[in-house]
Amino acid sequence: MTTETLQAPVPRTPLQEFWHYFSSNKGAVAGLAFIIFICFMAIFADVVAPHSPSDQARDALLLPPAWLEGGNWVYILGTDDVGRDILSRLIHGARLSLAVGMVAVTASLLMGILMGLVAGYCKGVIDTVIMRIVDIMLAMPSLLLAIAIVAILGPSIVNAALAISIVSLPHYVRLTRAATMSEMSRDYVTSSRVIGASPLRLMFVCILPNCVAPLIVQATLGFSTAILDMAALGFLGLGAQPPTPEWGSMLADALQFVQRAWWVVTFPGLMILITVLAFNLMGDGLRDALDPKLKQ
């Protein structure tokens, strides 16, 4: 007779638990997969791209995509009005868009966390002043504010990234402040304070790690806003300047060829749409996986 040993179920680590909930959302996984794919393209753009983004093939102007009549498999997605390979420009544009998204999200995340923590921790006058500033910024449509900032500083990628990070600041401030205020009343914060932890330690070591979940979700969604706003600024001629291969300014350059060459307009826009959609899908999935209220 054999004795069967029953094993107690191994409790999942937080990471496993997170993946369990996250992977049950098919859209979120698809979004994540696309983001990994596009990050790969962006990092290895020099190797992956079949051509240089600025090489002009004078004998192949406005060439249609390869599968159409007149297309050439050397230029899979066709060429633009000065004979640059569209696929290569899209791949290099991914590098730019992701970099701008990264810079804008990091900058506004850092500033937002700092302002939100201080407002939530100090309360009183400092809180009122910070929140009034945030309210004013929220009263302006983000694109309009970004346009105003770029109009003053002058059009360039760096200024556009700066404008986008300023514009998305209010959301991070509000989130951090709300989370900080709810954590402040917890016992563990009180006990840390009684032990003699300094305000800085309380803010950054005790409270901040417990506010991270909503910030991760917001940062993911912030990426999609940053890419969209960057493209809009580029399209209006206020972001990246030609010949930089940026998706929005690629569209603006192609405007006059809409009627003759649909591909120069279609592919950059499609790239923006799919990338933004991927970040939104992943953000939704992260929210479901990280929000304990929905975790049942």
């Binding site: 009034r132 004013i136 302006m140 309009l144 346009i147 969209l228 399209f235 307009v265 826009g269 959609l277």
Partner: protein
């Protein structure tokens, strides 16, 4: 109720002061000397510089400059355009009807499509229809407006020839400017075919501008409706034997619409900033196109004034939405 309105109004004043501070600072943040920037490449002599400086008040202390600016703004004086020499306010008022017409039609489109889609998706939860609505709305929400405009233009105007490419009306019509709204003016003109021409010019821009609000409204309506449909009183109503459509339309919708109304109000900001992109693509002569062109021409008083007016409009609309929300929902009115 009055107390609620008063409390809400008192919050608007600091915001408005902040906005004027912002637009006031904007023009002073331009790198370099503002007068030389305004003068452009010709440059100005030292005497003319001093004269202009005094004329524009740049020689006075900053707080006096700000005070003069705000008192001017409150009297409707937003300065003159550097290019046309016209007052900024009158230029704005001449172009604003075109933008209102466009945003109004876009809002109608967004509500007419978004609201029913959200309701049906919630009622038929988990079906193919529900999934399609959610997919479409997330796609619409992620849509780059300017590309969407180009794509629709390419398909419907260039390839199919169903709608005109750009502008507000065919050049063959000469419409007197009575109200500034092309749809109304074209009827008043009595010219045959003028109205349908004006309407056909509105279709694509309205759809483009209304896409993101439509997606937001559909998502919000669906989640709000789902919440209400799981309430006890809905089960009671169903148990009483009330017709299913009546439960949904009369019992559930009334409560589900409260958050949706707020969201619709909040779309005004999205519509006005989306109008900047839409108007640029469709050559729509409204304030969005005007602002972008002014930035290109470095016409700073116009940029400053335009941003101030648009921000003020959004503040006022948000205030009205809040008050309307307080009227519909007593819980908000009485909470602090």
């Amino acid at each position: 109720m009055f107390q609620f309105i008063f409390r809400r109004l008192s919050l608007v004043i600091p915001t408005f002061i902040g906005i004027t501070l912002l637009t006031f600072t904007l023009i002073r943040l331009i790198p370099g000397d503002p007068i030389e920037v305004m003068a452009g490449e010709r440059g100005v002599s030292a005497e003319r510089h001093a004269e202009l400086s005094a004329q524009l008040g740049f020689d006075q202390p900053l707080y006096i400059q700000y005070f003069n600016y705000v008192s001017g703004v409150l009297q409707g004086d937003l300065g003159n355009s550097l290019v046309t020499r016209e007052p900024v306010l009158s230029e704005f008022l001449a172009l604003f009807p075109a933008t209102i017409e466009l945003t109004f039609c876009a809002a109608i489109f967004a509500i007419l499509v978004g609201l029913p889609a959200g309701i049906i998706a919630a009622v038929k939860r988990g079906t193919l229809f529900d999934h399609s609505v959610m997919t479409f709305s997330l796609t619409g929400y992620s849509m780059p407006v300017f590309w969407w405009a180009l794509l629709l233009m390419l398909i419907f105007s260039v390839n199919l020839g169903w709608t005109p490419v750009s502008g507000r009306i065919d050049v063959v019509y000469w419409i007197d400017n009575v109200t500034g709204f092309m749809l109304i003016d074209s009827i008043l003109s009595g010219e045959e075919g003028a109205f349908s021409s004006a309407a056909s010019h509105l279709i694509l821009p309205s759809i483009v501008l209304g896409t993101i609000p439509m997606a937001v409204i559909a998502r919000m309506t669906r989640s709000s409706m789902l919440e209400v449909l799981s309430e006890d009183y809905i089960r009671t109503a169903r148990a009483k034997g009330i017709a299913p459509w009546r439960v949904i339309v009369i019992h559930a919708l009334r409560n589900a619409l409260i958050p949706v109304i707020t969201v619709i109000g909040l779309q005004v900001g999205i519509l006005l900033s989306g109008a900047i992109l839409t108007e640029t693509v469709f050559a729509w002569p409204g304030i969005g196109k005007w602002l972008i062109e002014s930035i290109g021409r470095r016409d700073y008083p116009v940029v400053q004034g335009g941003i101030l007016i648009v921000a003020t409009i959004i503040i006022v609309v948000n205030l009205l939405v809040d008050i309307a929300y307080g009227i519909v929902n007593p819980r908000i009115r009485h909470s602090r």
